[in-house]
Amino acid sequence: MTSPLGKDLLALEPLTPEQIGLILDTAEPFKEISERAIKKVPTLRGSTIVNLFFEPSTRTRVSFEFAEKRLSADTVNVAASGSSVSKGETLVDTARNLEAMRIDMVVMRHGASGAAQFLAERIESNVINAGDGTHEHPTQGLLDLLTLRDHFGDLRGLRVCIVGDVLHSRVARSNIWGLQKMGAEVAVCGPRSLLPNAIAEFGVTVFDRVEAAMEWAQALNVLRLQLERMTAGYIPSLREYNRVFGVTRERLERIDHDVLILHPGPMNRGVEIDSDVADGPHSVILNQVTNGVAIRMAVLYLLAGGRPELAETAKSTPGGER
């Protein structure tokens, strides 16, 4: 059965608005399953899924694992170390070994941009990109879209600004493409040393000052600042980053409208975001985490060949518990 998404979910850039809309709509009925006492349906019973994580990740890996288990798939977690040339098995050998074990799907997190596509081209199993280098993190982009849609009802015309290290952020790329395809207006804000030189060609507005970004935006997606950016010389210090680009309550209070706050986690409290903003009334950071499970269930379901219109009935099929 061919899925409406194709074989894999590698990135949001190649998807159509209809495909993205389909994933978001399919996620809606799956939200409810996680609210049940018995959080399990038999939809993927008999499917085997490998969660292959070449980079440490808690949130994304656990979210995928819950999504898989709540759909009754058999899952194996593989934490592989490093992608470096010098150590260990090559990615192509890893791919061949997985294929030989006749698995159905691979969820992969890898430090190299393009690694998910590389794997997808070499195995018949479905591949879901759980983040590849500084390229894309499509399920994160989708769960951000779902969270925004929950709050605003419609993404068309919505003004969203992505704040922080866009240069090294796979979350930023997936958000830019996803939001633009769904009709939102996208801006970015951050030190120019952490924005791609060609950023204007993405069709986004660029704000040099976070205050101006807040004035403009209805929602801010605040990116995690990797602490090694300071040692690599992109910014002078975390302290100064917070002073100039930090999303603080003081700054938000000067704005005459409410601004929804998203953050893909994990947060550096007091660096890119202050605690009273992260924990404040306009933060939907934990809603993002909840939506993450539903989005991943929807993606797994669709790639497995599930018909979108049956998602509603899939969740109500009895007998999921073992």
Partner: protein
């Protein structure tokens, strides 16, 4: 005494003597006896029918990597020389980034001997600028030249120190050899895997800005002006570099330059899909750079076309883009790529192509060849300018298969390659 050879009835193009005429090239005792309208046929001659083909002075590639010593699994001097001959090259210059580095007279002598043993396209060694290409101490340039080195370069390892570059340019003057620089400002290029621009930003790959090349191009030109030494800029890839080289030449500074076929025909878009066979250093740039480079070949701002032939083992390229090595093979596609992209689009004509692939390389590197004048060594390339073929890497004589042109239909192909009067390649021997 060997049998005379007659290359009969081809279009003879020899820009070194402004020759463009249908006729015969007659080779006796390894040297050119006649090149022009049909002449007297020597007794017992071997005759090659060249009707419809172009007969030109042999192509000379001033930039290639033959991997021996050190990586004989990837290429040897023998396989490289045969692949070069199959591409129409009668001579190639081998870069010194071997293992061990070709940085002394013994290592240079080894390359010379292996080249002679290969008995195909001539192989000229390029010596290292610095000991072990480490960028510190000047290598024994005089001894290397004595052993057969025709130039010096730390190719693959840009000369970061301006003082070392200055010294090399001054010192090399004694021996009248060019100092070849791979122009790349290392702090700007660090970690870069492709051209910096919208494609790198989209793919999430670290980019190398064109300025990384241009900063070093102008540094080298200014040091050449200061020292009077001959600097040769390897694999020019940006519009800005062309403008800087033109600036230097306009002022009479001793700068020459080469460009690779891939930089004349492909853009950064070829990297889409993380194609590691589109990964090279300098990286593929933009369509504007490609257009300016073609124009620079036409007007002579760029002197020579060189392949930067860089074979890699297939599984070295079969990996994540950022981890894959730089470089592609070039010997067996260079002519066709240049014919298809530059002659096909009428940017250059065949006499200009031959000037840039044969006459100019011989002139700027002070090598024999590059001319069909009477008495010169009979290094000759015969190629069919209109023959169409589909690139199949499995057919390459090189051990390398890493090419972005696989499956591409190209026009122009070497038919017969003659080195010192001896046929070292004939396409009929490869077919069937």
């Amino acid at each position: 005494m060997t049998r005379p050879l007659v290359l009969q009835g081809g279009r003879i193009i020899d820009p070194s003597q402004d020759l463009d005429v249908v006729g015969d090239v007659i080779v006796i005792d390894g040297t050119i006896a006649h090149a022009g309208p049909r002449g007297g046929m020597p007794d017992g001659a071997e005759i090659i029918d060249c009707a419809g083909a172009i007969v030109s002075p042999g192509f000379i590639d001033v930039h290639c990597h033959l991997r021996e010593p050190g990586r004989e699994d990837v290429e040897t001097i023998a396989t490289g020389a045969r692949a070069a001959a199959a591409g129409g090259f009668t001579a190639v210059c081998a870069m010194p980034n071997t293992d061990p580095v070709t940085d002394n007279q013994a290592a240079v002598g080894f390359v010379v001997r292996q080249g002679q043993r290969a008995n195909s396209a001539r192989v000229y060694p390029i010596g290292a600028i610095s000991v072990r290409q480490e960028g510190h101490a000047l290598a024994e340039v005089g001894e290397m030249v004595g052993a057969g080195a025709v130039a010096i370069s730390d190719d693959g390892r840009p000369v970061a120190s301006a003082q070392l570059m200055r010294t090399a340019l001054e010192y090399a003057r004694t021996f009248t050899i060019p100092v070849i620089d791979h122009c790349e400002e290392p702090t700007l290029a660090v970690g870069g895997a492709m051209n910096e621009g919208i494609v790198s930003a989209r793919l999430g790959l670290r980019g190398v800005p064109s300025e990384a090349e241009e900063i070093m191009v102008i540094r080298d030109i200014l040091l050449s002006r200061r020292t009077g030494g001959h600097v040769h800029i390897a694999h020019v890839s940006t519009k800005g570099s062309v403008e800087l080289i033109r600036w230097g030449k306009d002022r009479g500074i001793k700068v020459t330059a080469e460009v690779c076929p891939h930089h004349l025909s492909l853009t950064e878009e070829a990297v889409e899909g993380y194609n590691t066979n589109a990964k090279m250093n300098p990286p593929l740039r933009t369509a504007e750079d490609v257009a300016v480079l073609g124009e620079a070949v036409r007007d002579g701002t760029i002197d020579a076309i060189a392949t930067d032939h860089a074979p890699h083992h297939y599984d070295e390229k079969e990996r994540e883009f950022a981890d894959a090595p730089n470089g592609i093979v070039g010997f067996e596609t260079a002519l066709a790529v240049v014919v298809t992209s530059l002659v096909g689009s009428r940017v250059v004509d065949f006499p200009t192509l031959i000037e840039r692939m044969s006459v100019a390389p011989a002139r700027i590197f002070h090598l024999p060849g590059g001319s069909l004048a009477r008495g010169r060594p009979a290094d000759i390339t015969v190629f069919d300018p209109s023959r169409e073929w589909v690139v199949d890497p499995e057919q390459f004589l090189s051990k390398g298969r890493n090419t972005p042109y696989a499956g591409r239909k190209l026009r122009g192909r070497a038919i017969c390659t003659v080195v010192g009067g001896r046929i070292v390649y004939h396409i009929a021997a490869q077919e069937h």
